[in-house]
Symmetry: C2
Subunit: 469 residues, 2 copies
């Protein structure tokens, strides 16, 4: 009985805390319903994404496709009727994949000559012309590699720790594997190895490699690094387990070119009453070169644009300014995000929130939010409650995304659109991240959730407390 | 304040009512966690579905593919180690599509000769050899058709009411459109028309037609009936709206052959303590002939088999019997379901529940349940609460599915697995319902939800009250 009483007390306290905010939200219920109906009946996110993926697939920062995406986005903002449409310049790294990426088995003999699909990791140096050849040592952690001591010297290291399938949140499983991709080349070089091959970080077991960013460290030799498909890694692992020596031949022609000028694309719905208070919504315009960047992050860009379209279509001009920012170079440098905080440093305290959509165009679950003030959290939770009919009522503590994350140190509350995570890493950074993999209704429901959340936040009597207060 | 107090009272009452049941469920939490981990790490539903779709695509009742599916399922149950594996016979209608299904535009002249993709509806008669030709009248309801009076005589009726995109539950939108497919031919014939063309019931606007069942009525002439793609319907509608006369040439070679013997496939995990109390779980083995029947309903069949695999793998032998029933002929006659209730009539009062999975292999939301007894509903809700981590905690009042629905009049509580509905009608009854459209993690999470629900229901001290008590 005492446990029951405790539970009741907890519920009482919770209801007393939440009730006032929840009541305030009732006034927005009709707007939210209209936003959802507009998104489902006349939503234009999906069609917009089709056009972006056709106009600028593989728009890696520094590439002509990225420049095409910038111009596409500028025109799209103009056509939608956003105000103050502009390019805000940033530099961008210019890494290119080159024509050759090839991994061939040299031993054991029965597999000799067999090629395994790979992608160079973004930022990798090329192999020497003609490639390099080495025996494979397989590890599932950096500690294992260290423990090998001199055994890795002159070899190719296969980093082969899979995503943990048991994690319900696939982003957590990604977080538990991505160190291999980001730091594999550094750790391999430290061990004296000649290259790093990394198991693709994906929820699928198939022949498709998934690329992504990697780093070098000053003072550590730069060795080439590539992602191998999960089935390819399994094949090598099986032979090593069986006691075979596996020798691979790796050839990559990728490399870094001089930096190029690029830009974020920005447009606004200027606030009718509080134009200097700003809510940012955005995604990143760049994507990896191997796919169309449909889920990552064409979806987030097109949803951010849709927020503006829906509000204009329903004549819901916001009291505060809603600023759409499509960031450049999230994937391999975040130059756009860095430029944004540098250029808008003085203005950041007027940023009420900054929301990013960069987890794919899947069915809504809710939002992440890093608000530390309990009142701010309660308000965000109350708004989300209005989104229960579309399944978007969950507020998870956490940052909003790589780009908006650069604003967090200045006290800006950051939020992320949170869709269902089950399918994202099927497509992430792969040639399969294409428009056809995005479902219309799921994508449009995401736009509805984002629009509703931003609409209420932009029209509250008082702005929510920032993280500095 | 009085509103707040009311809310608090409501929460108090709710917590007092629910708390005891919720506490009872704590003992199952560890089992549920193990079930979810097993499904995510070693789930075999997806691989099983791949094999079913390869072994017996297009397994419409009466077809050789349906016979292959029956034998596939029998072998699968034997291999999994189910007990009492058997075929339970039923007759099956044997409708065949034939070689010809063709819709060509005869007028207006600028479109003459253009062919529009169609599928004959299941059960339709053929056109006369060489086809039939008629002008089109377009309606969006049977009332509109009636109001046309003699205007429809000798014509082809286009039933063109789309699914309501605003419905969040796409099954509700389907329910609001499906009368056109099921009864269109009857109503068209009553109006003196020579054929019925029905807008495909799908959430997509594309060139893919979606077939499905249709009926004739005794005493009403049997006219041929086919589904046209949504874009095809839109094209005709646009021309009619512009004032053109649209004339179509329809040719179908489909027809009904003599009935053939077929069967349900049944296997059990015999209860360790209460073997005579039975929980049925199943899907339907047949599917439309145009696709692989992956979501509809290979997914539900393979999930039902996975329930048994998981329980055996974890050594969770149920106290009550869990009976897997893969029904034949759900799509066009439900002969399997009818045979099941006829053959098991005496035993039905020992059926604790009957659960069907027939809403696709998408991410879990919860279950439908038609239990009328409040205690039964409370227990089911409490079990579902254990499934909150995988998003399956929602219990919606409603029937369990077409097949298990035949047991409801006998008082059997029926339940349906309830996944997210956003994508189902993209694929439903179309050539696009293929294995590749099913996501592994989403499918396996559905198996986990079903297994957990059935495990707890099969092991409760007291069986939940049936609907007759």
């Amino acid at each position: 009985m005492s446990r029951t009483l405790l539970a009741i007390s907890a519920i009482l306290v919770a209801s007393l805390t939440v009730t006032p905010a929840a009541q305030d939200m009732e006034q927005f219920k009709e707007d939210v319903d209209r936003i959802v109906a507009e998104a489902l009946q006349r939503g234009a996110t999906h069609d917009r994404l089709r056009r972006l993926c056709q106009a600028a697939p593989g728009r890696l920062a520094g590439s002509p496709a990225a420049a095409a995406a910038v111009e596409w986005a500028r025109q799209e903002m103009e056509a939608l009727g956003l105000q103050n449409v502009r390019l805000e310049s940033c530099d961008a790294p210019h890494w290119v994949r080159g024509d050759v990426e090839r991994l061939a088995i040299a031993a054991p003999g029965d597999l000799a000559g067999r090629e395994l699909p790979i992608h160079a990791l973004g930022g990798s140096v090329a192999t020497p012309e003609g490639g390099l050849t080495g025996a494979v040592v397989r590890v599932t952690s950096f500690d294992e590699l260290t423990a090998l001591g001199e055994e890795a010297r002159g070899k190719i290291v296969l980093f082969d720790r899979p995503m943990d399938d048991r994690q319900l949140d696939t982003f957590k499983a990604y977080g538990g594997a991505v160190d291999q991709r980001v730091r594999g080349a550094i750790e391999a070089a430290r061990a004296g190895a000649i290259a790093a091959i990394v198991r693709s970080i994906t929820t699928l077991r198939d022949d498709v490699p998934h690329t992504g960013g990697m780093r070098y460290e000053s003072g550590v030799e730069q060795v080439p690094s590539a992602a191998i498909s999960t089935l390819g890694a399994d094949l090598i692992a099986a032979r090593l387990t069986a006691g075979d020596q596996v020798v691979l031949h790796l050839e990559l022609s990728c490399g870094m070119l001089p930096e190029v000028p690029s830009s974020n694309v920005v447009g606004e719905l200027i606030g009718t009453e509080l134009p200097d208070e700003i809510l940012v919504v955005g995604g990143h315009l760049d994507c990896w070169d191997v796919g169309e960047g449909a889920h990552d992050d064409g979806a987030g860009c097109c949803q951010s644009l849709e927020v503006a379209r829906i509000l204009l279509a329903l004549d819901l001009r916001p009291r505060r300014t809603i600023r759409v920012v499509l960031f450049m170079n999230e994937e391999n440098g975040a130059r756009g995000a860095r430029a944004y905080v540098a250029d808008h440093a003085v203005e950041l305290e007027q940023h009420v929130i900054a929301m990013e959509s960069d987890r794919g165009g899947f069915a809504p679950r809710g939002f992440t939010c890093d608000a530390r003030d309990p009142a701010a959290r309660a308000i965000v939770q109350s708004i989300a409650t209005l989104l229960a009919p579309i399944g978007a009522s969950k507020i998870v503590e956490g940052g909003g995304g790589v780009d908006v994350g650069f604003m967090a140190p200045a006290g800006v509350v950051t939020m992320g659109y949170l869709p269902d995570s089950q399918r994202y890493f099927d497509y992430h950074h792969a040639a399969t991240d294409v428009f056809a993999a995005v479902n219309r209704r799921e994508l449009e429901l995401g736009s509805a959730a984002m629009t509703a959340m931003l609409h209420v936040l932009a029209n509250l009597d008082e702005r929510i407390p920032s993280n500095t207060r």
